[in-house]
Amino acid sequence: MPRLSNSTILKAHQQHPLLPLLLRECRSPDSAKNELRWLQEKANRLISFKKATRSTHAPLGWRRLLNSMCHTRSRGMPLQYILGDQPFGDLEILCQRGVLIPRAETETFTIHTAKLILDSIRGQCRESEQERCLRIVDLCTGSGCIALLLHGLLAPYIHRLSILGIDLSPTAIGLAKKNLAHNIQLGLLSKRATTEIAFQRGNVLTYNDSELGVQEVIRNFQWLPSDLQSHCDVLISNPPYISPESFRDGTTSRSVRAFEPKLALVPSLDTSTIALGIENQEDLFYYHIILLSFKLCAKLVVLECGSRSQAGRVATITRALISGYRPNTLVSIEIWPSTGTVTNGDICCEDDPCVVVLRE
């Protein structure tokens, strides 16, 4: 991380005395100014809310509140944890310690996936598809952002949806449920979402059929009663994909390392990794998810990866698994840049996250 020049800090201080604090984490004056504005708005809202409800807490002025917020931010606390939410598509996703914050790249690829689903449905014959309900499984859902946004985008066009979000962490499941209720209350999701979205605990990595095994969870899940086969149409996931090396060596930023849950970032070391023949620990989840997609007969699998090279490795794993388990099926493997294929003008580089899409 290059050092901030004295003149930058001085200039920032002239504009606002709190800006140098924010500069420590933001590294650029423009983004520091934006963050200051958002923090100011939040502080003002909190104070006016307190005044309106006449809460009995010690009356903290907005200046002092802003000051303490900026100090927290300068220590690396993610802005979303301080503000308590993050816009995601048209939704507002609540954020709290212990759950990964939704990223902009995830937002783009979720919107793109929704487009893909809608296109494929329009291509098919109408009447038979209208009757059936579309089943979507979101693995490693975290705050539930992907599941919720997909529902928001698909609900106006598809009459029956069933979306299941699965995560290992009970905190995440709790927050995802809170997000569901929060967005329905704000009117950003339709009332249907209450019955059509569910969040359950499950472990993607367990092999034996223990109670938390993700296969068991999906099998036991009450899909909307139409047909009883345990298959799903779409499997989407943003699994942990950071390797232990890049977690340590500075590729992962300080704020992420110190404040966001490691469970959601780095796949945990497992003895089975070596046995499975996977060279890189960060690819562990993809192996399990692709296997699961075969068992669920998923027609569309969308996986977010950390970089181009990782996406390449995932494609290789997929090819190996297909030849091993389902040699007779034709699966197309595509790799998108995180910006989606719509805006070709975007400049994409090697380190940007990408998406691997498997289609039957």
């Binding site: 002239q14 993610p78 995601f88 902009a104 937002e107 992962t252 966001e260």
Partner: protein, 429 residues
């Protein structure tokens, strides 16, 4: 005689009537700039109205037999012209009849005063009807039914221009809330420096159908003359702020109005996504789960025209991109419309000689603080009630109304010129 106690004049001023004393001299002043509204229509306009009315009757008789959506729309557009023309004909007919009665020596003497009275009545209504006819003849602006975006940018004048831009922003938001339009600021950039009241760019979205037509009069350069707060020697400065009114297209075309459906490649206002370069202003390095950047700025560049829109107000990149697209689309549509109008002006130039067209580069209004005066240079109206204008209240409304009638006069003159040109061409060939 009632007893009136003596009161010193100062006390009167202090405790006296609530009505402000200053109101007396807030008089409207009209200068001779605006074209005089003559009640008689030029022959060319009348012939145009007649041909349109004939088209209307032909189409409506056709529609009675079979239905066609496009034709029905055209008939709907023509109906007001035909109706007003009918009214105009009726009045003219009655006037000529009354004149005939008056001239006739056989008319009863007792009847004559009645005839004169009727004649006067008819003549009094004639100007309003011919004005209506003119208004009906003026073609509707293609964006007039749309909501709009209002862009404010300081021009020459440095800090002072930024300060005044802020005041204009306040004026328009107040105007919108007075008129009951929902307005929200979608972009607000303040200049560098410790003070936060220097605007460098602002965009307000006015979400009411037809807002474009109402605020259309505001496009152009607004000039301010005052002693700025930053001035130490008490000199009056002149600075300029440019305001642009852009059409805001509805989110989804909906397929109702094909001409304005921006997603349709055959539409005039279609923007090809291939021609737009979008950049995320984010530093290089790993992304995704590795970092948690809050930078959400988006910059769109339309390559053929070089128009750049950057947006960083929202925390969501998605929302920023959506708004940037909205602004880009609006700017391109306005530019295309402007180019089309310019072409028309070039065509007319042969007939009318030098036609002055008010473009966005022209100075349209002056706000003079020293004299508490607001002058619009197009209609020539001067209000000596600057506060009333800057509050976005009735003052502003009066000014805008005068400009609107000026615009109609301009359009009518242009129409007449078109007709003359057409007639000339017809006679030549």
């Amino acid at each position: 005689m009632a007893y009136i106690p003596w009161i010193c004049s100062r006390c009167l001023a202090r405790f006296g009537t609530r009505t402000p004393v200053g109101r007396k001299w807030r008089i409207l002043q009209w200068r001779g700039l605006n074209t005089n509204t003559d009640s008689d229509l030029s022959a060319s306009l009348l012939s145009r109205a007649r041909s349109l009315a004939a088209e209307h009757s032909k189409l409506s008789s056709y529609l009675a037999a079979s239905f066609d959506g496009k034709l029905a729309k055209r008939v709907g557009e023509l109906a007001p012209i035909a109706n007003v023309l009918k009214e105009w004909d009726k009045i003219n007919e009655s006037i000529s009849e009354l004149n005939h009665l008056l001239d006739d020596p056989d008319t009863d003497v007792e009847l004559k005063p009645l005839v004169i009275e009727d004649l006067e009545n008819s003549k009094a209504t004639l100007p309003t009807i011919s004005d209506n006819l003119k208004q009906a003849l003026v073609p509707r602006h293609p964006f007039s039914a749309l909501p709009c975006l209002l862009e404010i940018r300081p021009g020459a004048g440095g800090d002072e221009a930024g300060l005044f831009a802020f005041e204009l922003l306040r004026m328009y938001t107040a105007f919108c809330s007075r008129r009951g339009f929902r307005s929200n600021v979608i972009k607000l950039e303040v200049g560098d420096g410790p003070a936060e009241d220097r605007l460098s760019e602002a965009v307000i979205e006015i979400d009411a159908d037809g807002a474009y037509n109402i605020l259309r009069t505001e496009s152009g350069v607004h000039r301010v003359q005052r002693v700025p707060a930053t001035e130490t020697k008490g000199r009056t400065h002149t600075s300029a702020v440019s305001v642009m009114v852009l059409p805001s297209f509805p989110e989804t075309g909906g397929g109702v109005d094909h001409a304005l459906n921006f997603e349709d490649p055959s539409s005039d206002y279609y923007v090809d996504p291939q021609e737009v370069r979008s950049e995320k202003m984010r530093a290089g390095g790993a992304g995704g789960q590795h970092v948690n950047k809050t930078e959400s700025a988006i910059r769109l560049t339309h390559i053929p025209t070089g128009i750049v829109v950057s947006m960083q107000d929202s925390r969501s990149q998605h929302a920023n991109r959506k708004k940037a697209w909205q602004i880009l689309r609006a700017r391109l549509a306005e530019a295309r419309q402007e180019a089309r109008e310019q072409e028309l002006v070039e065509l007319r130039r042969g007939v009318l000689g030098g036609v002055a067209r008010m473009g966005r580069g022209d100075k349209i209004r002056t706000y003079n603080y020293g004299q508490s005066r607001c002058t619009d240079h197009r209609s020539g109206i001067t209000l000596h009630n600057l506060d009333g204008v800057l509050d976005g209240g009735e003052g502003l409304e009066t000014v805008m109304e005068s400009v609107r009638s000026w615009l109609i006069d301009q359009e009518v003159a242009a129409l007449a010129a078109d007709e003359v040109a057409k007639a000339k061409r017809a006679s030549h060939s």
